[in-house]
Symmetry: C2
Subunit: 338 residues, 2 copies
Amino acid sequence: MRAAVVGGGIIGLSIAAELLRRGADVTVYDPAPEGTEGAWHVAAGMLAPAGESVFEFPQLERLLAASNELWPAFAASLGDVGYDDAGTLGVALTADDVTEMAREWKHQGLSPLTGSQLRELAPSLSPRVRAGVFAPTERQVDPRRVVRALRGMLGGRTVNRFVSDVSEVEADVVVVAAGCGTAGLTGLPIRPVKGQVLRLRGEPGLLRHVIDGAADGRHVYLVPRADGEVVVGATQEERTDSTPTAGGVHDLLRAALDLVPGLAEHELAEVTVGHRPGTPDNAPVLGTLRDNVVVAAGHHRNGILLAPITARLIADLVLTGKTDPIIDDFTPGRFGCA
Amino acid sequence: MRAAVVGGGIIGLSIAAELLRRGADVTVYDPAPEGTEGAWHVAAGMLAPAGESVFEFPQLERLLAASNELWPAFAASLGDVGYDDAGTLGVALTADDVTEMAREWKHQGLSPLTGSQLRELAPSLSPRVRAGVFAPTERQVDPRRVVRALRGMLGGRTVNRFVSDVSEVEADVVVVAAGCGTAGLTGLPIRPVKGQVLRLRGEPGLLRHVIDGAADGRHVYLVPRADGEVVVGATQEERTDSTPTAGGVHDLLRAALDLVPGLAEHELAEVTVGHRPGTPDNAPVLGTLRDNVVVAAGHHRNGILLAPITARLIADLVLTGKTDPIIDDFTPGRFGCA
């Protein structure tokens, strides 16, 4: 079986690695195989299976949860990629923020914690934080290290080439996993959703858990790495440009500092802009598009979390033509394009 | 007359250019003659002769005003360096900010303007801005273009060399104009005062005047260039590190966006950190240090504004041994070092 994967981001690479593991002859096509163009480069790597998107598209929740269960083994297969299971603290600053967040927390079935209980777990939280939860199954990983590991596993199987037409690619099956570029290749309604993300750097130890919070109406997450880096994300803008803006950076810093004032002395080390591949229902597109073309794209804010299950489902499809029925809600057909 | 200038920042170069113009054989020593290490690279270039420092050291006001009068001719001699005489709007957001700023405005003898009057002059000012003044003699210049022009004028007269001991330098007179580096060369009490400065970029036309304001207790200035760049400065921290911090960038963005909300969509194009050379009284050190050594350093926040008068006074001293008595308040002797 000769399989081609168009797109060398975290989804394409995860699929290619799984195909390789199962014995396929796989080639990855990407115009910048060593580059940092993908959404993965910007992504914080929060593995949050119960985010807001489950209200938009309820079937997504099952998929997210299933992929979350695959993550420990997937991470172990990659070596040290910063997989960290300290868990996430959901926090809220004002009474309005509590109301806003409580919907998610209730949906997750988590017990509410007071501000003091939260600060016992995370002493650097602001005294203004008034309520929250502890979500032990919401973990984190470093997407840049994941991609580096996957690239290493795929060795010389990556071709530096921009594919503009799927029919150019010679293979038994072609998997289109080109993120936002999937729209041009397939006609599927995938749009870029701009996100601005900051990386702060300081002494390790200020935070142990991921912080997923609301601060005066703004949603923000803080993902602390073991080396002292803290990723702060993210804006969500229906825009195609790649410009970090004064307003976007301000909003992220304001919310981050309101929740964890001690971050003020951290270095502002990176300001990055990425584009999530969004679909009309913001759930991914997974399945057969036509004869020998399979698509795996449109993962929006869940690309890192969904990488392992996407790899498994798509490898099944490519190698056997069928897979777990969990995929049925995510077919390209739901947009009338297949 | 062979003159040597140690330091190729805006002060050293201005002095060297003046010496050259008056016929001296001048050499500039700098370890990075094409570099961007100097405070000038970070400075916004606001030419504000009546800033807060006049309360700290009243004699400084005369020096600042005298240099401000030299600027039009100095700028003209350099070509197009972004010298712009649209003037400055002093603005205040809250009642407390008005109280704080009113002291300076009163000292300058400027007539108060209402928020509406200010917005007629600058429609992009926030509706929350409640009072201010128009200061027509507070102008701006682009320090990076000034340094580029001065470097061009000095051509091959710059030597790429770090001077660690003034006695190494062979010349009839040595001028030490090494900014913060002057401390190590002379023993003078000059300390680095960290400043973080942002450069935003967008469509030109949002602002015409320099905005010098107070926003909820934070002083901020916005210096708009003709090409759409807006320089936002500056923090003032008694620190020696060169790290842009989350807190510093946040504070500048917050104040800038409070005063001019339309900046939110501007690109955050640059975050820079510089060190102003400060003295115990935050006024410059100008004069003869010993036999054939003259010093011109410690200009703190006024290096750009004071460049032309410093050049004139120091060139007088080097070439004739005497100069205008306005220099008498700024001798190194006031710190007991000469």
